[in-house]
Symmetry: C2
Subunit: 421 residues, 2 copies
């Protein structure tokens, strides 16, 4: 217990003053019991938990960490601007520079609006589409995550039927299902929302079918609805442009967040000229949206996205990890399904419907100093090295061996019963 | 034009890449034409606009600036924590410490949840109340601002009827109107929302009638609904506790933001034990909500709220300003209505229904180095001094004289026609 005694103590204190002890996507409620809830620090690709245990972090803060925790150059830009005043009575020139930088980098974008949460950006996209079309219905893919406001949060507690009105669901990558959803919207289609690839929790990830993406574009063009690509999670880990540039489809609106200032808090809605008047007509704001320090950090981050080989670097590392894991899994007699872009991988074992193998293996990886997630896509960051990946593969070899030994006696995971029945 | 040539140039660039050139509460769209849209820096109680003009800032970033822009101690806490890693794969001990600090300071609070925008906190309050009661209807005061999500944004563009379903409006401080609204909710009341005082735009502010506050508490107790005090704007400028502690009424939920980390981006929902299970049942989250640097800044800010005489200091300055303005207005033959707490004042001229006098006078104040707002409450900060206030009063004397001279020829303000018809 010494290995996590501080974490346990913090959990006890948290249980007294935070509902449920922790909430949201960083709650360890559905992770193996020995996963730490509290961390002490992060540097580059590494995390230290509250008890001082060091791990290579394949979650990257669920996305925000693109260039390494506590990146010196990006943080210096933040601090320099903070010293001149951060949240003022109006924006600074940096807001204009940041919007110009986005417009120059993202092919479909003619304008940008900054905000704070990914959910702010997706909600603004929805509102803009409704203002543009004067229609209400939005088509979404079943199971896709677009934020945690009442209209999109994945858990129904406290949410009303009216919060979820005017929504029609389709199956991602299924053209017939998409067409049926659009037909169901009748003459009332305001928007089609699309994740850049299928990155739902608990199931295999899937690349976008180019024909599906093109059909979504076509249906929007035919009906006057707006096409929204929600790049909050995947942005800049698939392309230096909107992620659907890879399949040759331009949306009208795209939503960004997480890594665009390398973990400093900012998100954005980008749009084409078609949607500009509607975007100007909605009233959205936040106390801290126009603060300048995070914009200075974003400008350095975007410059590095444009000018460095970070993308090729994390793609190379992701391929090395995928190949190496495949070999080591096979050598140990396991079949591991590795899905999603190599920069945003998910590992699921074959014949593991209730995730008991994945849970056990993930916990064994953690014991060996590698933080992997058993059911949510992970993220590569540019601070990782080939040596880090090779170390993770050594850890995997040990974790596969431990799983092999334990497998006959593995029980279902109690805390996952609510998910898998 | 030299006095604002940089601002004009930035506005032109912004018009190309930001819808409407600027959006949200910091847009100068409804301010006098010579108000700067873009700023260069802030320090203490002062702002420098993009052209280098220095002004005493009575807006304080619309609230976030409580202890002065770029406060050295608060910012140092932010930076020290940032260097150890800010947004990680989970929270740090600071999240527990911050929740503990809130619970220790705010009488009604047994728990805390942090978020980023004030709107996050108010939306979480609404969802928590609906989860707690399994009912839908919320009673709100007409004209009160509770954020900019579709359910509460003051502008209808892009908002659907369903977004505003299950809402009943009453008049603030009007007990009969409140009772009628609750009656209209029938058996479906989930929450009564209340601003801590009436701080609506364009009209006189009003202190809460203690009888109104008590009746709201009583109606919630009778129906099982939750009472929500939205302290995002007024928090810590009226009391070191929830603002309704001044009238002896405890809410079940209170929402906080703006100044709780002196302008660093964080907001919070605080609640009583009664609402704890419901708060734990809702799914709300954000990419940056658990980042630690802002929590370090918040802990220093809260300590200063507890331990310094900042509140008495800004109350003294606010009284000095109110008294001095009254005298100077009277001497010049004007009657100025100064409403709201002295720490959050609003100035409206008598016989100025279309605000032409207020607009002219505000612009004259700005010319003399004092940034005042013609129709939104202002904010005092602890970095202000008696000399700053005396300087503002000198400016006011000049501005009243200029108004006196210009008054016979003042025209209606074109940009306010949409507001006043």
């Amino acid at each position: 217990m010494a290995a996590n005694s501080m974490d346990r103590a913090l959990r006890e204190r948290a249980a007294a003053v935070i509902p449920g002890g922790m909430y949201g996507h960083q709650s360890t409620g559905l992770l193996p019991d020995d996963y730490p809830q509290f961390f002490a620090r992060g540097s580059g690709a590494y995390l230290w938990d509250a008890d001082g245990n060091r791990t290579l972090d394949l979650m990257c803060a669920y996305g925000p960490n693109l260039f390494g925790y506590a990146d010196a150059e990006i943080d210096a830009a933040y601090v320099a601007r903070m010293k001149a005043g951060d949240c003022l009575t109006g924006p600074t020139a940096l807001m204009v520079e940041l919007a110009e930088a986005f417009v120059a980098m993202i092919s479909h974008a003619d304008w940008a609006m900054v905000c704070k949460n990914g959910t702010d950006a997706t909600t603004m996209a929805l509102t803009t589409a409704r203002a543009h079309t004067k229609k209400k219905t939005v088509v979404l893919a079943k199971g896709a995550y677009h934020g945690a406001a009442p209209w999109c949060t994945p858990r129904p507690s406290g949410v009303t039927a009216e919060d979820r009105a005017n929504q029609v669901y389709c199956a991602y990558n299924d053209i017939e299902s998409l067409e049926a959803a659009v037909a169901k919207a009748g003459g009332d289609l305001a928007a089609i929302f699309a994740a850049p690839f299928k990155h739902d929790a608990f199931v295999d990830q899937a690349a976008p079918d180019p024909a599906y993406a093109r059909r979504a574009r076509q249906l929007c063009d035919e009906t006057g609805a707006l096409l929204v690509v929600d790049d909050v999670r995947a942005g800049f880990r698939v392309a230096r442009d909107c992620s659907w540039s890879a399949v040759g489809v331009e949306p009208d609106l795209s939503t960004w967040g997480k890594c665009i200032a390398n973990g400093h808090p900012i998100s954005a809605l980008l749009g084409s000229d078609k949607a500009r008047a509607a975007a100007a007509s909605i009233y959205v704001t936040g106390s801290f949206w126009y603060a300048s320090a995070v914009m200075a950090a974003a400008l350095v981050t975007l410059k590095r996205v444009r000018e460095s080989d970070y993308l090729e670097h994390i793609e190379g590392l992701g391929e090395r990890l995928r190949r190496g894991l495949h070999e080591r899994a096979a050598a140990a007699g396991f079949s591991l399904r590795q899905t999603g872009p190599v920069t945003m991988p998910l590992f699921l074992f074959d014949e593991d419907k209730d995730l008991r193998r994945g849970f056990f293996w993930s916990a064994e990886m953690l014991k060996r100093g590698v933080y992997v997630h058993p059911w949510h896509n992970m993220f590569m960051c540019a601070a990782m090295t080939e040596a880090d990946i090779d170390g993770a593969l050594d850890a995997a070899e040990g974790a596969f061996a431990a799983l092999k030994a334990a497998e006959p006696s593995l029980e279902p995971v109690a805390k996952l019963k609510a998910v898998f029945g």
